[in-house]
Amino acid sequence: MTLPLATLDGCFEGVVPSIVCTLAADGTPNVSYLSHVARLGEAQVALSNQFFSKTAANLRSIPRAALLVVDPTDSAQYRLDILYRGSREDGPAFARMAADLRATSAQLGVTDVMRLRAVDIFDVLAVRQVRGGRVATAPERPAGQGLVRALAVTEALTRATELAGVVDAVLDALAAAFGHEATLVLLHDPGRGCLVALGSRGYGASGIGAEVPLGEGLAGLAAQDRRLLRVGDASRLRRYGAAIEASAELEARTRSVALPRLPEAMSQVAVPMEVQGRLLGVLFLESTRRMAFGAEDGLALSLVARQLGTAIALAEAESGEAAAAGPQGSTPPVTDRPVQVTHHAQDDSVFIEHEYLVKGVAGRLLIWMLHAYQAGGRVDFTNREIRAEGALRLPELKDNLETRLLLLQRRLEEKRAPVRLLRPARGRIRLEVQGRLVVTSHRRGT
């Protein structure tokens, strides 16, 4: 009896390695593991072709192959009779598998080894379950709940009124709906070619301001490829990088914030956020459970990421509509204690009281405001004037100002810095300096 291929979707998650067997012209078998099998519609599968040249040679003489796949949830084994139809070196099936392989390779730390040569396309002639049964598993979460979960998260989003609320709402609602341990919202910084953490839940340290280069790790790869990437069994994968303890000393030395990690993470999913063809960032979820995020969760999270992207874009657009600044108020410093701020022009990194705060666009923005404060005692600013301010040389701020302000505000709060940003009204920013400001600027190369 032949089973429908669609019922085997769990087998194509790449968790338990699949097995392929072919025959040489003289009948000599060749049996090997392969890293990826993908379903193409109802009647075809694609196999990754990386290094098993013997398999490729055999298929040219005898196109029949046997494929064994395993469902990672209940360990049931399925035997597929397949017929080789040809290889593809481009196209959607190739692109999808190449992205999955890059994700696996990045986790393994072997970027060159896993390069995909081609995907081999096969007709599926028959599917049957192998004797030996399956493990009785009570699904921890019932299937068919993807839309319900997506709806719960997007509903929370629709109630949020400004950007900070949007980010907090999505982080809290995701944790409640998906039951995983940790989440990161990462923003794309096109100027620096990286992702920057804007908010998180479930990690010891918030990691706000931590950067991930595009193409690095699952989140960086998802951003680079603009594809959802999932890992369901990290036990197969060598641990990616050593655990780094977040510390002020390390931050100051590296001028960076350590990306928070979930120890013993088994499952990860990274979902790109795109709006109007533009990459806004990545939503990243982790769990210590195996196979915590299924294909359906992936679809649900894609919907959430799109809605989140739209909500962020809307918050950016609305913030520009604010009225002009009201009367320019100047609050005298509450103490005469000096507040040491150091700015390095080479990367726009900013240190407050010798502790690393932020760099890049957010750093330049803060320094611009602090200079205005020093020069004329200004504490009130509007989004509109910042966007129009040529001195900032920040074309990328046109669409990203609110997210950068939020990043700056959160980072200042987290460091309990004697400089704070307040948001008295939509489109308005108030600077609060608790002491006597002393700014030291180091030019490029110093």
Binding site: G27, P29, S32, Y33, F51, S75, R79, G132, G133
Partner: protein, 163 residues
């Protein structure tokens, strides 16, 4: 008996084949390939014979093909690091396992369950891959050994029987 120096299966390779590694078997007949799983291996006769135990209940086609033409490929992969070897040869004897080979299969089953558990797969979870029902011992006469560890050396011939 331990393998002797210069045989197709070195002592080092024999130790690997007998260790808790995943064993998969390729056979075929009439142009149709087949896949099965082995439940333990034992190298005998100074490396001239490789016994692999297989459940004839779970993998009937594998045993039938081995009986029909003897052609077999057995791939041994260590789950922790993917170190992999493939042995190709002929099955020249299929029989119920001797008590020693049966004990070897049971010992293997316990150890591979343990090795997979260390990687986060509970023994209950991996049980469906380890049926010991109707065990048959296939005696393989190795003809070629290939390195199949993923990477640039994958597919390299390690040893071949001369003549």
């Amino acid at each position: 008996m331990r393998p002797v120096q210069g045989s197709l299966i070195s002592a080092e390779l024999a130790a690997f084949l007998e260790s808790p590694v995943m064993i998969i078997l390729g056979t075929g007949s009439a142009g149709v390939p087949e896949i099965g799983r082995g439940l333990g291996a034992s190298v005998e006769g100074g490396g001239d014979a490789l016994y692999v135990m297989v459940s004839a209940w779970q993998w009937p086609e594998t045993v039938a093909n081995a009986r029909a033409n003897g052609r077999i490929a057995a791939t041994f992969a260590r789950p922790a690091d993917y170190v992999t070897y493939q042995v190709k040869g002929r099955v020249d004897l299929i029989a119920p396992p001797t008590p020693a080979l049966h004990a070897c299969a049971m010992h293997y089953a316990a150890r591979i369950a343990e090795a997979l558990a260390e990687l986060g797969l509970s023994p209950e979870h991996t049980a469906p891959w380890r049926s010991d029902r109707d065990l048959a011992a296939l005696r393989i006469r190795p003809a070629q050994v290939f390195v199949q560890t993923p990477g640039s050396r994958a597919g390299r011939l390690l040893a071949e029987r001369r003549g």
